[in-house]
């Protein structure tokens, strides 16, 4: 790992060289009153004043809907057109926040747990993350309580911490990051020895993660799930904006003798998610579905994958139509 300095002009130069290299660049853009990741061509398109994009960047590696393969039956023969990793384009995710970058760790663990997911890994391999430390946070943010932080480097290839002069401290973290820096090597200068912690948002520690995990180990039958979930209306907003939620459904787009098999986002919050063909639903009520959401992130994932399924980005709390504030709920569990 190496630390450098880049000036404001240097940043512009680097960004334009990245675009010129032919890589796709996704960055936060403000549109229709929302800030979301979008394909960009110029640094001037990138949003400045915001806390968090509504959606996470997980769609770069796990799209909302992705064709697994297509097929066609002709003269008794079935021709399968499988997913081709070579069609995946080199992509740079620009101005990701540390909580989004950290989300790649649980995602990678899930998509390589019992099966090596060809599609996910193909996207990940061609993706480089240029993360920006957070200078601002709001009351939904809690990265520091879930092993993260506003200047955390987990998952990032390069981490920039912006300085008052418009330049940035550049931490080059991986060979991928180094390769990206090499696209405009002359734009980078020697590290000025600035302490990045001076420029980071203050995100207070609100709960002890291991304590939450320990309490959850015996909380399956607790009345807390019903109490907390009464107002939950059972939509999928929390799961879809989440940087680590990875549940999917497989659907068929069939037209006569040809068709496609499509993987689409799904959510454990939906009543249909666990409905069996027999008509039986093991998670028949919303409180059981809310319990699943929390236990999966804070108990099952650390048990099975050695990583928590929450990065403290706060998106679910901000997106929820009925204010199911995850920080408030987890904090209350930690104190029970």
């Amino acid at each position: 790992m190496e630390t450098k300095y880049i000036s404001k002009n240097g940043l512009n130069e680097w960004f334009s060289q990245i675009v010129k290299s032919g890589k796709r660049v996704y960055a936060p853009v403000e549109e229709r009153g929302k800030v979301e990741f979008k394909k960009v061509q110029a640094l001037s398109e990138v949003a400045e004043e915001y806390i968090q994009t509504t959606q996470s960047i997980k769609s770069a590696v796990f799209p909302r809907a992705e064709v697994l393969f297509s097929y066609e039956k002709e003269n008794g023969q079935v021709k399968v057109d499988d997913f081709n990793p070579d069609t995946v384009k080199e992509t740079v995710l620009w101005k990701v926040h540390p909580c989004d970058a950290a989300g790649f760790k649980p995602l990678t663990a899930i998509f390589n747990w019992d099966y090596t997911d060809k599609l996910y890994n193909a996207h990940l391999e061609k993706t480089t993350l240029v993360t920006f430390s957070c200078a601002k946070a709001d009351k939904s943010c809690f990265c520091t309580s879930v092993n993260g932080g506003p200047g955390n480097t987990t998952g990032s290839d390069v981490l920039l911490t912006m300085l008052p002069d418009g330049g940035a401290i550049v931490e080059i973290l991986t060979p991928k990051g180094e390769a990206l820096v090499q696209l405009a090597a002359s734009a980078f200068e020697k590290d000025k020895g600035e302490d990045k912690s001076k420029y980071l948002a203050d995100v207070p520690l609100t709960f002890d993660l291991e304590e939450v995990r320990a309490r959850l180990a015996t909380a399956f039958d607790s009345p807390v799930w019903k109490e907390q979930s009464e107002r939950c209306i059972g939509c999928g907003a929390c799961a879809f904006v989440c940087p680590t939620c990875a549940c999917f459904d497989i659907q068929e787009d069939a037209h006569g003798s040809k068709g496609k098999r499509i993987r689409c986002w799904d959510s454990c919050g939906f009543s249909l998610f666990t409905l069996h063909t027999s008509g039986h639903n093991p998670r028949a009520v919303q409180s059981q579905r809310w319990r699943q959401r929390i236990l999966h992130k804070f108990s099952y994932m650390p048990d099975r994958l050695s990583v928590f399924g929450c990065t403290g980005c706060g998106r679910c709390s901000r997106a929820c139509p009925v204010d199911m504030n995850i920080l408030e709920h987890i904090t209350s569990i930690s104190k029970k």
Binding site: T54, I233, F240, D253, C264, P321, V322, D323
Partner: protein
Amino acid sequence: MDKLREKAAALLADGTVTMVLGYEEGTNKPRPVFCHTAEQASKLVYSSQCINNLAVYLTKKEIMGTGKVAIIATIPTLRSILQLSVENQLNEDNLVVITVMDKDEVKQFANFAEIEAYIADFQLKLDGKEQEIINKLEGMSREERFKFWMEEMSHCFKCYACRAACPLCYCTKCIVEENRPQWINPWAAPLANMEWQINRAMHMAGRCTGCGACGDACPVGIPIHLLTRKMMEDLAPEFGFTPGQPSKNGNALSTWKADDKENFIR
């Protein structure tokens, strides 16, 4: 606020109801709360910031149980209650409806007919910004309108928050979940999203009471409530109902009469 809390506490204390649905302080604005004891009634708040339509919970058996409950209703919630009632979804004897009037006066309705008389004084209005979008859409050609909605639909990721927040989307199995045959493509893509929203608008035709909960719930900011809203205004003169008032003649999509006008068939 004190009067509201006293009223709710009294209803719970004397056993008139087993639960009071209302609002409590939330992260940025009030949010739904369920009071099961008189003590919990002290959490209740009420202001113009209370935008969740609590009528959405009235058809959820797992929340409502079998006892009598009270609901603190805003004007949009009252409209939804009446529409749910004409659709035979509510038991009048099992519901205490309360609203908060000027100067924090609390009003308990004796029956649904009284609610109807009460809301007649409140006109259903869109705010200026929303009216502006509708005016803009009305000025567009059919192609331009399709383009506008396709762009908006490209942001939809099918979380179904619109459906979940709507008091009138109470089907236990939604058409999007029907897969024998699959009527609507279930994945998120502009056209598949449009199919879903067109279906939702059709199913709401003549039923939507214009509360705007679907648009408020949309995490990606699609003004979907304007679809059902515009539909309501277009249908009202044709089917003889008043926007925001319960449509007692059945809903436009599933009602047929021998003398229905057929002038739309060209």
